[in-house]
C-alpha cells in the first residue's frame, strides 16, 4: 500500500516591492512624452497658442538666444550673484551653526534670534537691503546671503547636536585636544546634516536670485523672464524657466557629487 501522492505546489511568493530602485530612464521618458504631447497639442490647435508655446519654438528661441550671445550676458551675472551670495550665506551660516552647536552660551543668545528671523520672507527685506547695500549687486548678494544663512544655521546646529555622543566620549577618553575633537569628530559627523541643509539653502538661493533680479536688474535670468512676461512672449518666458530648472538640476547634481565623495563612509 502506497500513500497517494500528495499534490505539490510552489509556495506563493509574497515578498518584494517597497524597495526604491533607481531607474532614471523612466523619468526622462515621461519628460519626453509630455513634450511630444504638448508639441502635438499646440500644433493641431488643441492647445491654443495663448495657453502654451510650441516646444520646438521654445527650443528655437533658446538656440537663438545662445547664438546671439545674450544667453551668457544673462547667465553670467546670475550665476555670479548666486555663487557670491550663497558663498557668504553658507559659510557664515555653517560657522554660526557650529558655534551654536558647540557653546551653550552662543546657543542661548543666538538660537532665539535665528528662530525669529527664519520665517521672515527675505524678499520682503529687499527694499531695506537696497538702502543698506545699494541698488546694484550689493543688495542682491545680501538678499541671497541672508536667505541661505538661516536654513544653513538651523541645519548645521541640528547636525552638530546629532553627532554621536559616544564618539565624542571616545575622543575624550583618548585625551584628544578640544580642537581635534571638533575637527576630526564633530565636523565630519555633522557633514551629512550640513549637506542636506545645503540642498535646501541653494534651492532658496535660486528663488531669491530670480526675485531680486525681477525687482531691478538689467541682465540676469530673472530680468529676462520678467521682460518676456510683460511682453507676453511665451517662448522666451519658457526659455527662462527652462534655464532656471536646468540650473536647479545642476546644483542638485553638484551636491550629489559632493555627497558621494565626502559621505562614501555611510552605510
Amino acid at each position: 500500500m502506497t500513500e497517494p501522492a500528495e499534490r505539490q505546489k510552489l509556495v506563493d511568493f509574497r515578498g518584494g516591492g517597497f524597495v526604491p530602485r533607481s531607474n532614471r530612464w523612466i523619468g526622462l521618458l515621461i519628460f519626453v512624452a509630455i513634450l511630444i504631447a504638448v508639441e502635438i497639442g499646440t500644433r493641431t490647435g488643441f492647445i491654443t497658442s495663448l495657453t502654451l508655446p510650441i516646444p520646438s519654438d521654445v527650443f528655437a528661441t533658446f538656440v537663438e538666444l545662445w547664438r546671439s550671445g545674450l544667453l551668457w550676458k544673462h547667465l553670467v551675472p546670475s550665476i555670479t550673484r548666486l555663487i557670491v551670495g550663497a558663498l557668504f550665506g553658507v559659510s557664515i551660516g555653517i560657522t554660526v551653526g557650529i558655534l551654536i552647536g558647540l557653546f551653550s552660551i552662543v546657543r542661548a543668545g543666538l538660537a532665539p534670534v535665528i528662530a525669529a528671523i527664519f520665517p521672515i520672507p527675505k524678499i520682503a527685506l529687499l527694499p531695506l537691503f537696497v538702502i543698506w547695500f545699494g541698488i546694484d549687486e550689493g543688495s542682491k548678494y545680501a538678499l541671497i546671503a541672508f536667505g541661505t544663512f538661516t536654513p544653513t544655521v538651523v541645519a548645521t546646529y541640528g547636525a552638530v547636536d546629532n553627532v554621536d555622543r559616544s564618539l565624542i566620549r571616545m575622543g575624550q577618553s583618548f585625551s584628544l585636544t578640544w580642537l581635534s575633537i571638533v575637527r576630526k569628530i564633530v565636523l565630519p559627523g555633522a557633514m551629512p546634516g550640513i549637506l542636506s541643509g545645503l540642498r535646501i539653502s541653494l534651492a532658496i538661493a535660486i528663488i531669491l536670485l530670480v526675485a531680486a533680479e525681477m525687482l531691478g536688474a538689467e541682465y540676469g535670468i530673472g530680468a529676462y523672464i520678467l521682460e518676456a512676461g510683460s511682453l507676453y512672449d511665451l517662448e522666451r518666458l519658457f526659455v527662462g524657466v527652462a534655464i532656471l530648472s536646468i540650473l536647479g538640476v545642476t546644483v542638485s547634481a553638484a551636491i550629489n557629487w559632493v555627497e558621494s565623495r565626502l559621505l562614501n563612509w555611510r552605510v
Binding site: 559616544s166 575624550q172 577618553s173 583618548f174 585625551s175 584628544l176 581635534s180 576630526k184 565630519p188 557633514m191
Partner: protein, 255 residues
Amino acid sequence: MDLQLKNIGHQYGDLDVVRGIDLDIPRGKIICIVGPSGCGKSTLLRLIGGLERPIEGQVLQVGTPPADSINPLTFVFQDFALLPWRTVEGNISLVLEDHGLSGKEMEAVISDVLARTNLSDFRKALPKQLSGGMKQRVAIARALAVRPAVMLMDEPLSALDSQTRELLIDDLVTLWTREPFTAVYVTHNLNEAVRLGHSIVVLSRRPGEIREIVNIELPLADRTLGNHQLEEHQKRLWQIMREEALAADQELIDD
C-alpha cells in the same frame, strides 16, 4: 602603575548608583567586574577612567605610568566607537595624531598593533565593511596603540555573537600571554569573566557594592573551553549573582 579605588560612591540625582567600592587594580592583571545590568558597572569604569568625577571617594594612581605610555587609562567600548569616516588605519592614527609622533613612528606603531590583532590585511577598510568582531579588533588595536597602563573594557564582547566572542577571548588571551597588560574588564557574562579574569569582582544590584572577590589562579592560557575548574568557579559566581540578578530584574524602573 597600579590603581586604587578608595571608598568610591556615586549618585545621579537621587539615584544611588555605586557605594563604598574599595578595590586594588594591580599591574599586569585582568580584573573582571560582573554584576546584574544597571548595577553601575559602566559608571564605575567611567569613574576609574576619569570620564566622570566620583562624588565620594577617590581613584588613585600608584606609581607613574611607563614613560612611553601615550594614554595611560584607555577605554574599549561595547559599541566599538570607531569613526565611520576613517579607515582602520585612520582610526588608529586618530589617537596618535595629537601626541607629536613623527610620521615614521606612527607608521611603526600602526603596523605593530595591526599585526598583533591580525588586521594587517584590513588597513584600508572602512568600518562599514567590517564585521562586528573585526570592528572590536580594530578598537582593541587602537587601544593598544597608545600603550595604556590600564585598559578599561566595558563589555567589549557583548555586542558580538557567541562564536565571534570565543575567537576574541582567544585573541585577548594570546595578547595577554605574549605581553601582560593591566585591565579592568566589565561584563555581565560569567563565562567571559572566568576565562579572562585573574580576579572577579561581583557587584550587588544597584546601588552596586562589592559582594565578593573571587581569585582564579589557573593561568589564562590553560583556561580552555569546558575546563572543569572554571565551570566550578562559574557555578559559584552564578550562585552569588542569581539572587541579585533576580531582584534587579523585578525592580520597577521609575525614571
